[in-house]
Each structure stands twice: as C-alpha cells, then as structure tokens.
Subunit: 264 residues, 4 copies
Amino acid sequence: MLHGYTLPRTPGGTSSLVAAPPWHFAGDALAVAFEGDPASIASLLPAPLELDSPRCAVYFIEWQFATDGGEEFLDPSRSQYRETLFLVSARFEGLPVSYCPFIWVDQDISMVRGHLQGWPKQLGSTWISRSHALTSPASPVLGPGGRFGASLGVKDRRLAEALVTLREPSDALPTPGFARAVNVRYFPDLAGGGPLLHDLVQLRSRNVQVSQVWKGDAELALHAHPTLELSLLKPERVGFGYRFSMALTVDDLVVLKDLRDGVS
Amino acid sequence: MLHGYTLPRTPGGTSSLVAAPPWHFAGDALAVAFEGDPASIASLLPAPLELDSPRCAVYFIEWQFATDGGEEFLDPSRSQYRETLFLVSARFEGLPVSYCPFIWVDQDISMVRGHLQGWPKQLGSTWISRSHALTSPASPVLGPGGRFGASLGVKDRRLAEALVTLREPSDALPTPGFARAVNVRYFPDLAGGGPLLHDLVQLRSRNVQVSQVWKGDAELALHAHPTLELSLLKPERVGFGYRFSMALTVDDLVVLKDLRDGVS
Amino acid sequence: MLHGYTLPRTPGGTSSLVAAPPWHFAGDALAVAFEGDPASIASLLPAPLELDSPRCAVYFIEWQFATDGGEEFLDPSRSQYRETLFLVSARFEGLPVSYCPFIWVDQDISMVRGHLQGWPKQLGSTWISRSHALTSPASPVLGPGGRFGASLGVKDRRLAEALVTLREPSDALPTPGFARAVNVRYFPDLAGGGPLLHDLVQLRSRNVQVSQVWKGDAELALHAHPTLELSLLKPERVGFGYRFSMALTVDDLVVLKDLRDGVS
Amino acid sequence: MLHGYTLPRTPGGTSSLVAAPPWHFAGDALAVAFEGDPASIASLLPAPLELDSPRCAVYFIEWQFATDGGEEFLDPSRSQYRETLFLVSARFEGLPVSYCPFIWVDQDISMVRGHLQGWPKQLGSTWISRSHALTSPASPVLGPGGRFGASLGVKDRRLAEALVTLREPSDALPTPGFARAVNVRYFPDLAGGGPLLHDLVQLRSRNVQVSQVWKGDAELALHAHPTLELSLLKPERVGFGYRFSMALTVDDLVVLKDLRDGVS
C-alpha cells in the first residue's frame, strides 16, 4: 500500500515531495504596485476572466512553511524558499479577482505545491533586502527612510529589480492582493488529446495575519527575455512600494469552472 | 487566446515551462546494477504491479534536450540537466516492466516534463566523472581500467555514491532498463476527495540509439535519510557497472490502467 | 592606472571582488556552545597558540553587508550571505583568544574578504530557521519555547546540524566569541619555497552591537567527512544554544607574529 | 603541527581548500576570437604591460582536475568546474604575452587555486553546449555544421553569450592563448599600507595536449553590468569560433616583476 500526497508515493508516505495540507506559511514581503498596458494585461487572462483595471503588483517574499506538527522549519532547507510573483486585476462573473500570470520560486517543494493550486511556478532566484533589528549601515531601518531592494533572476538572466524607500505606515496592503486570487490548474496529456485537467480555481486561505504595513516610494524595472513574456507587464506608471510580514494557512480550493473543451 | 503546453500559458506560448513534444534527448550515463531485498522492493510497487525479481539499477545521467527545431542546446542553461534514477524489476499482467520509485533532476523544466510522464521527480544534485578525449591524470579513459564516480545529493545530504572501473565492452545494457518503464501519473485535488489523476502509464520512446557500452566492476553506497525512503533499495549484492551514451525521442505515452477508486 | 582593493583591478575600480573597507555587517545568529576533546582541539591550533579550554562554539549566521555609502544591500545578491563557523578557546602569550579552524560561506565576496583577514573560508551551504513577526505554526517564537534549527552542507554532504529551544533571556553571549578572534593569513608560493604570507593576526571590529540574547537547550551533531577534519571538534558535551542579532564594522587588523620560517 | 597547501591547515592536511600541486586539468572548450577597442583594452593592462594588438579571445571551458594520484574526479563535485575567461594581447619587455582581465568559475577550489596564480577569479555560472557521441536533434555534431552555444551569468545577470557554427578543422588555436599568460598576484593588507603581495607572474604549464581543433563562424554578445567593467572588451569585430579539448599540468610560476611601490 503506497502513501503520500504527491509522487513519489511509498510505504511510509514520507518521501512525497509535497506533504498533505494544511500548509502554514509565514513570510516577509517587499511589494510594488504599478499599472501596465491594459491590452497587454488582458491578453494574459484566461477566458472567462476579463480585465478589471491596469493595476498590477509584484511581490518578492521570503517564506517559511510547516505542516501541522511537522515543524519543517527545524530543517530549514526543506521549509524556506523565496518567491517573486506578479498579480493583475481581473473580473470573474462581475466580481473583482486577482490573477497571477508569472511566479518563480527557488525550491521544488514549493514549486509542485504551487502547481497543485494552479500557480504557474517556475524556478527563479529571488533576493530581498532584510532589516536586522540593529542600527547599521548594512541594515535598512524598518521605518521612514528605510531603503529596500529586490531582484528576480531566471537561469542567469535578471528579469526584475525593485527599489522601495519607506515613508509611513499604511492601513492598506497593495492591490491586487492574494485575497481572491484565481489560478488555472492544467495537466496536458502526453497520450494525446486535450488536457486531463484544465480548470479555473479560487484559492482559499485562512488564519491570515498581516503585520504593520510600511509604504513608500518605489522604482521597478522589468527586463526583456527571449522567451518569457514578462514584458507584457511593462510598467507604465509605478505606484507605492510596501514592506510587511504575513502568515496564512492553505488547505482548500474552490473550482470555479472546468475549462476543457466541450465541458460546460 | 492563451497558448503553451504547460503553465504559464500566454499569448505567445513561449513562456511555458515545458515546450510541446517531441522531446529529443542525448546523454552520457554511468549505471550500476544491483539486487535489493525483495520484500522491500515489492513494498514500493503500486498495485497492480508485482515484483519480478530483486534486480535494480541506478543511473546517473548528464542530459541535453531539444524540441523539433528548437535547438535549446544553444542556450544550454535551458537544455542541460543531470539526473539520478532508480529502476526496479516489476511485472504487469505477466509481462516484465521496469518501475522507477525515485528520481532526481537539477532543472525545473526536466522536473515538470517528468511529472507529465509520471516520473516522480524531485530536485537533486548529480555529479558524474567525465572522460575527456585526451590522456591526463584528470580524465579517466573510456576503456579498460577507466574509473568513474558519481554522486547524488538532496538538499545538502548525500544519498548515493557509485564507483565503476571499466573492464570490457558489453553487448548488453544494464537491466532493468528504460525500454518498458511504467510510471504513475498523480495529481491530488486540493478541493477535496480523491486524486484528479491517478493512472498507470507506459513510456514510449523512439529513435533510441546507444553507443558502445563499457562494463566493469562497481561499488554502490546508499545513505540513510530522515524522510526519503531510499534505504528500501539498500543493495544486498552489487553487480556490474556501465558507461554508455544514449539518445531517444519521447512524444507518446500509453495508459495502462486508471488507478482511481471506483474506476474499473 | 588600475584601481581596486582586490583582483580584478580595473580602470574604474568597481570590478574588484572585494570593495575597500570599512565593511559593515548586520546578522542574525544561532549558536551552540559545546566542549570537545582537548587534545583534538589543541591539534588544530597553529603555534604559538595554546589550548585554553575544551570550550568551543558553532555559529550559524545570516549576514548582510555594506561599505560606507555603498548600500550594497539594495542589490542583495551582492550583500547577503550565510555562514557557519567554529571557534575554539586558545591562549596567545598568556591571554585568552578564540581561534577559528573551520568556516564556510555561500558567496565569493565574503569568501575572499575572509581570506584577507585569515578566516579559512570555504564554500558551504548554511540554513537557519527564521522567526517572522507573526504567530504561525510556520514561525518559531523569538522567546521561551521557540525552536530553531540550522544546518551546514558542503558539496552535497551534510556536516553539521543544530537544534535550539529558547528558554530565557541571557546577559551573555556564547563563548568562545568573536571579540578576540585570532586568525592566520597564508599565501603559498607556486614559484616554490615557503609561503609568501604566513602570519598570526588579531581581528579588530568596532561599532559592535548585540540585540537581546535568548538562551536555551541545544543539540548538535557533526557528521564525518572523507577529507574535512571537522570530527576533531566532535562534541563531548553540548551546552546552551543562543539566538541573537549583531552588527559590527571591520576595517583593521593587528599582526601578532610572522610565522614564516626564519622570521623572528 | 599543521599541514596543508592553503587554509584551513590541519593536523592531517586533508582539509585545505586547495591541495598541493601538481594540478592536472582536462577540459572541453568553446572559444571566440574578437577585436575590441585598443584604448579600452590598454586601460585594463597593469604596468609595465603594454598593448600588443586589439585581439582578444573568450574561452568557455568545462574542466575536470586531479592531483597526482588523487583521483579527485571520482568525487566529481570536488573536481569538475566550469569557467569563462577573457584574454587580451599584451607585450612584456617587447615580447608578446596574453593577459586575463576577467575570469569566472563556479567552484571555490578552482577560485582560490586561481588566486594563487594571479587569475582574478570570481564566481560565475558558465554553460556550454555538449556534443554527445550520437546523432540527435539534442546534440550538435562535432564537425561541419555543428552549432554550439555558451553563456556566462554572474549573480543572476547574464554577461556574455556566444554562438559558434563549426566549419572545418583548424591547425591553430585561437589567439591570444594560454601559452604565455601573465597574471598579477595581489594581497591587500587590512592592517594598513600597501599590498603585501603585488607581482607580475607568468604561468608555466606542461604536458600540454590539444585535441583536433574545429573552427567556424561565431557571434558574441557582452552585456552591460552596473559594476563589472566587462564592456571595456566590447567586440568591434568578431572572428572565428573554436571547439577543442585540452589537457595540461600546472605546478610552477615565474615571477616577472615585483609591482609594490618602492620595490625595484
């Protein structure tokens, strides 16, 4: 009898790349809100999602994860990962949602756990400035004047760079945000024919906590790539930058619509 | 309209982690045949596979891949990867097949392309001695007396080490081999209930070419790991070691059996 | 005219691997104090250092660095690095000092900057649990009951693992500490003869700041390696574990003794 | 008594990052000859080297190394590394030499072994197409029409990309070549004052072997970087590309001139 939430499935069930949910996450984020070209953003949306606005956001996050009682963070090579993701503003059946066209992480566990939720994760290298709890020219202050940078690299090419100078506390998180994120699960069939799995899903998270949010000025640069169409999100106007911590739990998903041909 | 063989799907279709098949592969392999404990090996087999023999093999391979006309090898960070995989000897409906309980690669493209074929790929670090085409104390000879090593590491833990001393040409490849490999495709449903996809599939490859095969003495060590149950394959007897190159094309798959509960 | 603090030296001087001091550092540390075998520890000391006690400490640290006005942390791939180092208790001319037989970092900049100070740095992979500022099963609390892990891996082999459960605030840092660390600078001469540089140096740091220190129970395991003689530090008794942040500035060094043959 | 060719020096002497010479190397190279701006190239030369011509070459190499009887290639994570280096055409006391302003490798052992010879090595990521010994769309042929690519990335930024299409065998290697390479050894003194070591050295290699050399058309792109002054080597004219294997032994060095102030 084989056990395990994903492959490889084994007698003990401890070899699976992804352990069974719930998955608890805690992380520190640097984010930048921006606006792109509406037609380009709309071109990235899977039907039946429609463009809501040209508002986008990029998040650079250092995460730590654990399952119930798993304490994976005690062997942090199995728990920590860094992530860069882009969210755009969409509408599903008239209601505003966010949609993620691109996301990169630096660990296999996170990558496949993401695929199960429809996150289109690839491997990439994310770096984010840290604020250590001491006064030093090596550590930006988590407060007015604190300067933070972040970068994304994919297979030795730098794709994104952000710079944020904190100015003041903020009551609000950047938008679009994670709260109503909609993804697409997709599994093509090498045996031929259409995909075995192709549906629109909405993420559900609980136990959501957010720290004090700091807000400030921001710069954002996205660089061209020979195959990754990230330039469809080229910023036309850059908004505020944000720094905050958050925690949440994921163990559910709502299927919004089967997208396979001939499936109503 | 979104295009792409896998996520992320985009207007141009060039952003997908995995490009559409056919996928052409060429690689250099170091392999060691061995026998493990029959009951332990059997415990790794998904029903209805049955144990055929205690014969196993581990392959360490440096691959390069391309799609039709894609010439991905010209940007080798997108084409090259290293792999370690274990094959065991099973039987499906009375016929001998091979089954892969564990496999590791070092690139996301290869990892997800594997998942689409049921390979239970995780990220791992493989190193293999190379024979350069010159006489040097730094380069083993590809012939009698040539000594080759290989290792597998997973998240900073070394899991496997092999050592092969070539003795003579061989007419045969190690067994179990890739020819009739059977995998399990598996996609759990975070929305609840059983897996969305759970079937037994048989790989099909074509254009298979193999170089001259060299054979010799071998040593193999597998190390304990806190969660990965690789020690179920602990060698009880180590057979020959092999060195060879191979090339093949993959663009098809045969579904042998749906393994979901209640599906006949 | 070429400029730069280290190679490569160039017209603009910005290409050097290491920028000119002062070097400012801020970091979060997990440390474990322990005692080893006195004779084994003594065997690691360069003359004229003598053993002071069997007390040792291992530090796992996530660092961020900057030069004066350089703000390297805004491009954190050039500023952040992780480090594992061991300190032992020695005596120089009757005064207690600490000595570092082994240290690993994960960035070239830090590695060579260390060599200039006599730190025997090699590349290694360090992971340390983080406490995010929110309550989550994914984040240990920085206070009583908080559990933290750390690991060191070198070329796919895991060398060290630590586990600390915080119990109470501490007025003291672990010992041996960084305050009076003594290193050896060493540069062999490929042209033949003895080393071009071989001296005993004492580090000087300033602007030293330390956060609240938390102390608790600890476990520590060091694993055997085919060439790295870390097992000379095998713990015979494991003391307290510590968690704290620190910041300091380095821009000076004191030469204690030239160790080349025939130099008095 | 401590032993070891470099730090860390230990009782057994096996922990040193770099083992004592002789060092044997075998590797596969892709190279592109090109011409840059004479004044820019000259600005990179350390006095008393003078510009000989605007001829430059970039080499991308996959190396394997071993010491006498060390067989390091049997644990290839300690033996294999990839390298990108640039050579320019200089003159020392009227004789033509080559000089390396920039070089990147991906292993600590190689990096420090290079520093001992004056190579200004930094960590970087090199990828090179391979020709496997079989006919496949995934493997370029090592002969007329074979197309090979290579790239260099440094901390998530791509710095160089080359493309070579082989046309014919060549009797000659690209120039400038390794044969008379001149480097600068340099060790700054953190205790203050000028460098402890600053001299011009000429490499000596023996047992040099070269395989059949293939030559063809080439493209080369160097990309701008915020601090690395590689654009001083911007190609004004790109010459032939080359593919070959080579092996050599290094265990000596000739000091040409002490470059410290006040040292004649």
